[in-house]
Symmetry: C2
Subunit: 337 residues, 2 copies
């Protein structure tokens, strides 16, 4: 059996996460039992939600266990099979974690075959995977936009944000992004098709960012997909129309232990806002429909998602910490083979 490099959570962050929280080990992959398959990972996914799980705090997911392989999405290829369901060479998406190989029980474990004819395999971790479905759910099930409305998304050049923009434009909405830096904003407008993108790094406070949003959203904001929290959310809230909807999906700003307050909660009342926090894995019923649309958008070339690719398992911790600080550009993955 091949050797398997793995990254474990060694200790929990005190405040900001650091590379010293992780530990690289090498193990033997165990011999397969009946019903199991061995998957060689081509790519693994790095996602903001992982930071939340590193804390030992009440959250929507169980905390990541200490001393265990970091959990996360993976795509790869079946290289050995003792299950009639999979044969060697099958391309699969799963939750294999931060390691080069995973042994998966074909009955109980999460594993799905994917078609890589038109969609590059890594996109099943991004636009045609969990981040894409996340965008789809927030747009369709929470924001539920009406024709002519304006929707806004933060972290617009990221995996979720870019999928949100592509889906919103496919529906003919006015889609406005918020991102950090000219490059990301240019990409959002020119490559994804956002009508406008506001660079939050050009603004020192919510009032200033809010003014820029007024220009980008002359009819106000009807739907907001929140990936960030903090000042960006405050600025958007100052531009909400009555009966606006907020899909609350991420609050990177709050993950480092210190909660970031919402400055103007009374606007939720005066504008009669509906806000809903959600995690897409609790809404598995929408996945088939969402993945179908996302697969079509990507497969047809209408939506060309961008990726930041780190090379090799050893690079994962640095890439992960960089992503939390917005250093990635598009979906952050790690290439393992």
């Amino acid at each position: 059996m091949p050797q398997n490099k793995q990254i474990l959570l060694d200790n929990r962050p005190q405040g900001e996460a650091s590379v010293s929280n992780f530990k690289l080990v090498t193990t033997e992959t165990p011999a397969l039992k009946d019903g199991e398959v061995l998957v060689k990972h081509h790519y693994m996914s790095l996602d903001p939600y992982m930071r939340g799980r590193m804390n030992d705090a009440k959250s929507y997911a169980q905390p990541q266990e200490l001393g265990k392989v970091m959990q996360g999405g993976t795509v790869g290829e079946v290289v050995e099979s003792k299950s009639p369901k999979y044969k060697v060479g099958d391309k699969v998406v799963g939750m294999g974690g931060w390691q080069e190989y995973a042994v998966v029980d074909a009955e109980k474990g999460y594993l799905q075959k994917v078609d890589t004819t038109h969609v590059p395999i890594s996109h099943y971790l991004g636009a045609v995977g969990m981040p894409g479905v996340t965008a789809w759910y927030g747009l369709n099930r929470i924001i539920a936009p009406k024709a002519g409305e304006t929707v806004v998304v933060s972290a617009a050049s990221g995996a979720v944000g870019s999928a949100f923009g592509a889906l919103a434009k496919a529906r003919g909405l006015r889609a406005v992004g918020i991102a950090g830096g000219k490059d990301k904003c240019d990409y959002a407008v020119k490559e994804i098709g956002f009508d406008a993108c506001v660079d939050y790094k050009q603004h020192e406070d919510a009032a200033s960012l809010s003014k820029a949003l007024k220009d980008a959203c002359p009819n106000g904001i009807d739907g907001y997909f929140e990936n960030v929290g903090g000042m960006v959310m405050d600025a958007v809230m100052l531009r909400l129309n009555s009966f606006a909807r907020i899909a609350l999906c991420g609050m990177i700003a709050g993950y480092n232990g210190k909660p970031v307050p919402m400055s103007y909660p009374q606007l939720l009342l005066t504008n009669r806002v509906k806000l809903e926090g959600f995690i897409v894995s609790e809404h598995m019923d929408v996945w088939p429909e969402a993945l179908k649309e996302l697969g079509m958008l990507v497969g047809s070339g209408k939506f060309r998602p961008r990726e930041s690719v780190a090379e090799g398992l050893e690079a994962a911790p640095e890439a992960f910490l960089g992503m939390l600080k917005g250093k990635n550009f598009g979906k952050q993955v790690v290439k393992l083979a």
Copy 2:
């Protein structure tokens, strides 16, 4: 025609509202035109939403106009009629404003006959009026409780809060109030039937209040009706269960111009909370059903709402400002006749 004392909004508050914002005037009631009725007010309503309208700021309602009679709910008796719809002696609820008499167009104006056989007329401003329907809407349409759940309301001894408690107990839920002071908490438990009531004045910060809520809500909080905002809301949010619902109805703490932040917005995400701000006048479809249930609860004596009664129009500004500081006990009304 009788003389009519009126209270006008003379100038807008700079920060906290004060009696100097109001002006008392005496006018003649004009002669009735065809289709009009003259209503002599018995009681007028004082409500927190009026403070918001005193500002010249974007809100769900048009600002109260300067130099005009303060708007607000009233109950009274038709004393003169040039409409076939009303006869002298009819008891009516309307939006007559802060004055002793109102001339109302029976076709265009808001006026409804009420039955005072079993329900004292003033309650049509409270438990069997806008505040009661507000509680009903938040409980049934936003919180939508399931059997066995725990619901919490702030300002529990007030007009909305007490109606919320009575409705929640009629549904067999665990109902927990939050109120300021031992008297209000005792009333909430002994008279309204709340299972428990927490006195927020015994707590210096949200963490301390939150601990007290843990004892009162051993199974966590599934639904929260928010009348207050600020520290009380923060404390409740720390005890929310997954998939909790928040009906956002009032934020007294924020009405004086300075927004009060929400300290832990990330809990909306980690607990996948649904939050909805609403104003009951935008949901007129529920009023008949809600008023029917509330009228039965009050008429049968199962729900005995408490009132703070100020005497005479001149007392209205002081009573209003006191209510904003929580000095009232139950629904605040002004007796005019």
